[in-house]
């Protein structure tokens, strides 16, 4: 069942078109990430869903109800801010109680629900502290408890891990994913960190210049990127210009292309290449090693094969094997032709 629908949303700030025709829908209980570089419009889209901004075009619907023009305080949408936006003059418990107080719930009910919410985020012992005396991770949990205690229909999180250091970030990502699946709340994350998007989401919407470039499950994004931008934004990729003829890629045997004839781009993940002697059977590209390095389990090399950019390969390394010296003539073949994607030509 569709929980949230965003239909054709566009937003302009002055002359700058921040969002164009953004459309997506999220099923109940799913976690979606809006992923993109800074300035791609992802936070703007989140703020439109929360009602902090009105879109110029399009609609936002929750469970089929159009909420596009509903003021933010009348939407059942939880929001976790990038800097958490905890009220500095209120204690942890008062912060969590805020929404319930505003709703004029009975005092006993507020106390019970606040206690339960703080237990959910493992902060039961911190009820009387002020936010300034909490660590970043604890503040984040207060912000989440403050939103969840109102049992919103949707939880929106704007770069919730940005303010945390790298080690804590990983732990909190796992914790939050567990919490969300336990509570079963439909959630939308905003992030610029593709690893975070992969860890957290059922669906990822890659955004670029105000558009949704591709909406897919995390592994599908990696395996089947729809555009060169997605191919290089999600993980690393060699994007090689090729020509499609008769459902196959010219000069690259074994790669099928369900596309019309003409120029296209072949997306090759670095780990999908294999190293061969120059001119050996199965070689697709011959060239000289431009750079190579080995780091224990793998070695990485760049082969200058006469393409616009050198081919990058990440190869498993056997014990005692050294990285090939720069300038060595070598060949690269494709390990799994089915693991390549053929996409529209760049530009």
């Amino acid at each position: 069942m569709t929980q949230i629908e965003i239909a054709g949303v566009g937003k302009r700030f002055g002359a700058h078109q921040v969002l164009r025709d953004c459309t997506l829908s999220i099923a109940r209980g799913q976690v979606l990430t809006l992923l993109g570089a800074s300035g791609c419009g992802k936070t703007t889209l989140l703020r439109i869903i929360a009602g902090f901004l009105d879109p110029d075009e399009g609609e936002v619907r929750i469970q089929g109800r159009d909420i596009t023009t509903l003021p933010p305080n009348r939407r059942q949408v939880g929001y976790v801010f990038q800097n958490y936006a905890l009220f500095p003059h209120l204690t942890v418990a008062e912060n969590v109680a805020y929404g319930l107080k505003v709703r004029r719930r009975p005092r006993a009910e507020i106390a019970d629900r606040v206690r339960a919410a703080l237990e959910t985020v493992a902060l039961a012992g911190f009820a009387d502290r002020y936010p300034a005396r909490l660590s970043g991770g604890q503040q984040q949990r207060v912000a989440i408890a403050r939103a969840l205690v109102l049992e919103p229909e949707v939880l929106l999180l704007d770069e919730p891990f940005n303010a945390l250091d790298a080690k804590l970030r990983l732990a909190m990502q796992v914790e939050l994913r567990k919490l969300i699946s336990r509570v079963g709340i439909t959630s939308i994350f905003v992030t610029h960190d593709q690893a975070e998007a992969m860890t957290l989401s059922d669906q990822v919407a890659v955004m670029r210049e105000g558009r949704i470039e591709q909406l897919a499950a995390p592994l599908d994004l990696y395996d089947r990127p729809a555009t060169p931008y997605v191919a290089t934004f999600i993980g690393r990729a060699n994007v090689v210009p090729v020509t499609v003829r008769g459902g196959a890629v010219e000069g690259v045997p074994g790669v099928a292309a369900a596309r019309a004839d003409g120029p296209a781009a072949l997306v090759l993940r670095p780990e999908n290449l294999r190293l061969l002697a120059a001119g050996a059977p199965g070689v697709v590209w011959n060239g000289r090693v431009a750079f190579a390095t080995a780091d224990g389990p793998t070695m990485e090399l760049e082969l200058d094969a006469g393409l616009a950019e050198p081919l990058r390969a990440v190869l498993p390394r056997r014990a005692g094997e050294a990285a090939p010296a720069a300038g060595t003539l070598l060949g690269l073949g494709i390990a799994d032709p089915a693991g390549c994607a053929v996409i529209p030509h760049a530009g």
Binding site: F52, P71, P72, N73, Y79, N83, L86, P88, G99, A147
Partner: protein, 279 residues
């Protein structure tokens, strides 16, 4: 210790001579400035304890007779009452007008905002005398005579930039995300204002009230031109008093005013923290 940290300690140990000289000079200048600011007040307080009927420093003894004399002087007690009343009214008017103005100039988005800001803060750039004379002349033109009411109006114009600036400074430091968080949690704009903005603005409001009150209480330049001849406020009364008399009673009043300011600052420092006023 990492090499970087030890490098930093080494650098600290070898402060160039020129920097040390600069530090010394800065200390001297600061000390001198402090002396200039504080010494006159201390001298006035000392003089106020003079037992004889004329001003001398150091005082020839210790007596509180001039403090009693102040309260026995009907003219002086009347002017103190006028000043207290005027300062209270100015404080209220400046808060009522200044707080919304500060909101508009920090949070508002409207055409001509920069111009409106400049206009609001302009009286601060103008000598009080100019405001006083302008008010007097304008008053004469529309038939509005120098009076307590005119004094309140003129002082409000003069004081409002202080009020606005203190409130603006604090408002600018408030995270607008807190308002959004409040809305997201279900609070309407009025409830957000009461539950989120006012509690955080409290210290700034207190400070603005205190500063405005003190400024209105001891202003001479504006009051000289706009106050009622029969009901002069204290600073004007003192100004006339020192022209033809130099009794230690004037020092006693000044000492009490210094004490009043000091107590206000102390209360603010204890309740709010002086360092938060600037924010």
């Amino acid at each position: 210790m990492s090499p970087r940290a030890s490098g930093a300690t080494k650098r600290r140990r070898t402060i160039p001579a020129i920097d040390r000289l600069g530090g010394l000079l800065l200390g001297l200048v600061a000390g001198f400035a402090l002396l200039l600011l504080v010494a006159p007040s201390l001298i006035v307080i000392a003089i106020s304890f003079e037992p004889r009927a004329f001003i001398s420093f150091p005082p020839s003894g210790f007596s509180l007779r001039w403090y009693w004399a102040v309260f026995e002087n009907r003219q002086l007690t009347d002017s103190i009452l006028v000043s207290l009343e005027v300062a209270t009214l100015v404080m209220l008017a400046a808060l009522l007008l200044g707080v919304p103005a500060a909101f508009a100039s920090v949070r508002g988005t409207f055409p001509g905002k920069a111009g409106a800001n400049a206009f609001l803060l302009a009286p601060q750039m103008m000598p009080g005398m100019v405001i006083g004379i302008a008010m007097l002349f304008f008053g004469a033109y529309v038939g509005f005579r120098a009076s307590d009411l005119m004094l309140v109006v003129a002082l409000t114009v003069f004081c409002i930039p202080f009020t606005i600036r203190i409130v603006m400074a604090r408002l600018a430091g408030l995270d607008p995300r807190l308002d959004e968080a409040s809305a997201n949690l279900g609070a309407g704009p009025a409830e957000t204002f009461l539950r989120v903005t006012v509690p955080q603005l409290g210290p700034a409001l207190l400070a603005a009230a205190a500063f405005t009150f003190i400024e209105a209480f001891d202003n001479v330049t504006v009051a000289l031109f706009t106050s009622d001849v029969r009901g002069r406020p204290l600073p004007v009364e003192l100004y006339y008093l020192v022209q033809n008399d130099s009794t230690p009673a004037i020092a006693a009043i000044s000492a009490m005013e210094i004490m009043l300011s000091f107590v206000v600052m102390l209360v603010i420092a204890r309740t709010v923290g002086l360092e938060r006023l600037g924010r």
